[in-house]
């Protein structure tokens, strides 16, 4: 088992290396570099900027060197924890991101907790009460939840909040708590805002997990060992929780990494629409401004989160389900 885990970790490190290359390529794709777009912006603002100034800017940020040297410098910095300077904010990228990343992480993990707790309960209910009114209505809600893009759900919630509750559901803090220090009141305010992005981010995942849980559990419920357990006179609840649900959990856990991918992937859009103070708006702005180091590190972080998350879920699965063997089948 240990060997398996170590193999997985080595594989993850390789993947991270390739991801760093891909991130770097993506941010280098746009024609022109930051110096050009900076000059263009200053130009439209009515300022005169000379060719020498552009050139010195380029030298200062090392944009004049060949691309592989730029990459090596960049990745060497990243490994040592130096993510370079944000060209837009004129501050270290690490600092800019550090302000906002905790919120993204908090949002992602709260959403995951929401998805699994809700999906497990509803999934079990739907499987046990198959074809009941509740089951059917959850199926319908699930279909709609899967089909509604995150941002549309966010817009609808924003409209409802505005229309019926007179409350702005955007952001994570009310006006008076925006800059305040952490306190109970601020925490309460924060939690009262947090449910909107969690709901928006989690709906599609919940819908999907309910379907999985329901399908797997339905398969398990008809098996002989359930009948055997029933014959021993256990209560229905105990039978359900102790045996089939435990087995049905495995496919659910194996999707953990995948679900994390979906949540992290959806986070930027939700952050932008709800104007959350997390990494979403930062990322979008960095992309639009061609703030390459910031954008590159953001792509790298999003990917790394997902890859490490997948690693954790794989290891969890290996520990939880001893039947899993990654050996080659000849």
């Amino acid at each position: 088992m240990l060997e398996l885990v170590i193999k997985r970790i080595i594989y993850t490190i390789f993947t991270l290396f390739f991801v760093s290359i891909v991130s770097f390529i993506i941010i280098q794709l746009p024609p022109g570099d930051y110096a050009d777009s900076y000059a263009a912006r200053r130009h439209t603002a009515g300022e005169i900027i000379t060719e020498e100034e552009v050139e010195s800017l380029r030298q200062r940020f090392g944009l004049d060197k060949p691309i592989y040297i730029q990459y090596t410098n960049w990745i060497w910095g990243v490994v040592r924890g130096d993510f370079g300077m944000s060209l837009e904010y004129k501050r270290p990228v690490a600092e800019v991101i550090a302000e906002r990343l905790p919120l993204t992480l908090l949002l992602a993990f709260t959403t995951l907790a929401f998805i699994y707790s809700v999906a497990l309960v509803i999934g079990i209910y739907s499987a046990v009460n198959q074809y009941s009114i509740g089951d059917h209505s959850f199926t319908v809600i699930g279909y709609i939840g899967l089909a509604t893009p995150n941002f549309l759900l966010a817009l609808i919630l924003m409209y409802i909040g505005h229309k019926w509750f007179g409350q702005s559901v955007g952001g994570l803090f009310s006006q008076e708590f925006m800059e305040a220090a952490w306190s109970w009141a601020r925490l309460k305010d924060f939690l009262s805002h947090l449910w909107v992005p969690v709901l928006v981010l989690g709906t599609a995942g919940t819908a999907f997990q309910i379907r999985t849980m329901r399908a797997v559990l339905l398969d398990e419920l008809n098996k002989m060992y359930v009948t055997a357990a029933r014959a021993t006179g256990l209560s229905e609840f105990k039978i359900l929780i102790k045996y089939p649900v435990r087995i049905a959990l495995n496919p659910i856990i194996s999707t953990l990494g995948w679900e994390l991918t979906r949540v992290i992937s959806g986070a930027p859009i939700v952050g932008v629409v709800l104007s959350l103070p997390d990494t979403g708006p930062l990322f979008l702005k960095a992309l639009l401004d061609q703030d390459i180091y910031l954008a590159g590190v953001m792509i790298l972080i999003y990917c790394a989160l997902v890859i490490i998350g997948t690693l954790v879920s794989d290891v969890l699965l290996i520990i939880l389900d001893p039947r899993i063997r990654y050996e080659k089948i000849e």
């Binding site: 089909a147 893009p149 549309l152 859009i269």
Partner: protein, 375 residues
């Protein structure tokens, strides 16, 4: 004589199901899914909308109604305010007033003047499918405008814009799916047929792509498109970006099927009969799992639509003057616009309905793709 009689007697006992062709079996099984049939019907309507968008919409997507700006959807009436019945449906005329408190110009309904809806009227000129110059529209009113879904902040008819958007959003999906299909088939085909190191490399590549969060990648890629590209260029670039990530599913399917079928008897006999590799793939291998490919494609279709909508919504996909669901929803982005004009969310309903319909079809097809099970 008696033998022949016995044979005909036997053939009468043969059930329809035993002699049905593969296509018939698939269709029978598909038909049993009510929701899948419903989805098929809905998608048919969407197709008709996108083919005849110019004819079905009363106005062009960029025509501005100078009087009815940011106006709510108009109701179709049969009875006027005095309760008098008219056989021809009508909408009320409207005027602009200034809001006494905010001083904003707001359109208001004038219940004294009726605008009867007429069908098959001549209106704005257009070229159907860029070939036939026509000016006939399904419906319109005389001396005024009819706005079934209201108008946006520039006075453009949301109903017409939705119909045009259906065309571009659906076609982005279609072209994206075609790219996905080609890429998936080639990569999966190479991996499955050549095998060895190349297979290994392609499979690792697929695993790699699948382990990445797609939306940040899409955003990064589409942000790198040059701003001065024409709408058509951006359109194709976006579809390629969308399919760059989605081909992996299909490639996996093609590869696993190729590997499974390679050792089947009918392939070996084709080989013995002297068929070339190309012929074996195209005539024997591909048709035997084409149904699975169709299922995978149907399932990936809604992801394309959602992807395009999300990108355009953020301003990184299609942009004005192109009209797609995402472009339309872009103007609903801020809460103020949304609060004044909630009908700008109507294109979102189109998206949801299209995606649900495709999901239903996909579910039905998945079941029908293997018609020999439990029939």
């Amino acid at each position: 004589m008696s033998i022949i009689k016995e044979k005909t007697k036997k053939s009468k006992n043969i059930k329809r199901i035993d002699i049905a062709t593969y296509k018939q079996l698939v269709w029978w099984k598909f038909k049993r899914h009510f929701m899948a049939l419903l989805g098929l019907g809905v998608i048919a309507i969407f197709l008709i909308i996108s083919i005849f968008a110019e004819f079905l919409s009363p106005y062009t997507p960029h025509l501005r109604d100078p009087v009815y700006i940011g106006g709510p959807p108009m109701r179709i009436h049969f009875f006027d305010k005095n309760g008098k019945f008219y056989i021809r449906p009508f909408v009320y005329s409207y005027k602009t007033k200034r809001d006494p408190t905010t001083l904003r110009l707001i359109p208001s309904i004038d219940e004294n003047k009726r605008l009867p809806v007429r069908f098959f009227v001549n209106g704005a000129k257009y070229k159907l499918w860029a070939i036939f110059p026509l000016n006939i529209h399904l419906f319109d009113v005389q001396k005024g405008f009819v706005h079934l879904f209201g108008t946006d902040e520039l006075g453009r008819d949301v109903f017409s814009r939705c119909l045009y958007a259906t065309r571009s959003s659906l076609s982005v999906g279609l072209i994206g799916v075609i790219f996905t299909f080609v890429l998936g088939l080639i990569m999966g085909g190479i991996a499955g047929f050549i095998g060895g190191t190349i297979d290994n490399i392609i499979m690792r590549l697929i695993e790699f792509i699948r382990s990445l969060p797609e939306i940040p990648l899409w955003l990064g890629l589409s942000a790198s498109l040059p701003r001065d590209w024409s709408a058509l260029k951006v359109y194709f670039a976006i579809t390629i970006i969308l399919s760059l990530i989605s081909w992996t599913n299909l490639a996996r399917r093609v590869r696993s099927k190729l590997l499974a079928l390679r050792e089947e008897d009918f392939i070996i006999s084709a080989k013995l009969a002297g068929c070339s590799r190309g012929r074996i793939i195209s005539r024997h291998l591909l048709p035997s799992f084409s149904s699975y490919i169709i299922v995978d494609i149907t399932i990936s279709f809604p992801w394309m639509i959602l992807g395009e909508t999300s990108l355009s919504f953020l301003g990184l996909g299609l942009r004005e003057p192109a009209v797609s669901y995402g472009v339309l929803l872009y103007s609903a982005q801020n809460i103020l616009a949304l609060a004044h004009m909630p009908w700008l969310l109507i294109p979102g309903i189109f998206v949801v309905i299209a995606v649900i319909a495709f999901n239903f079809i996909g579910d039905g097809l998945r079941d029908a793709a293997d018609p020999y099970s439990k029939m």
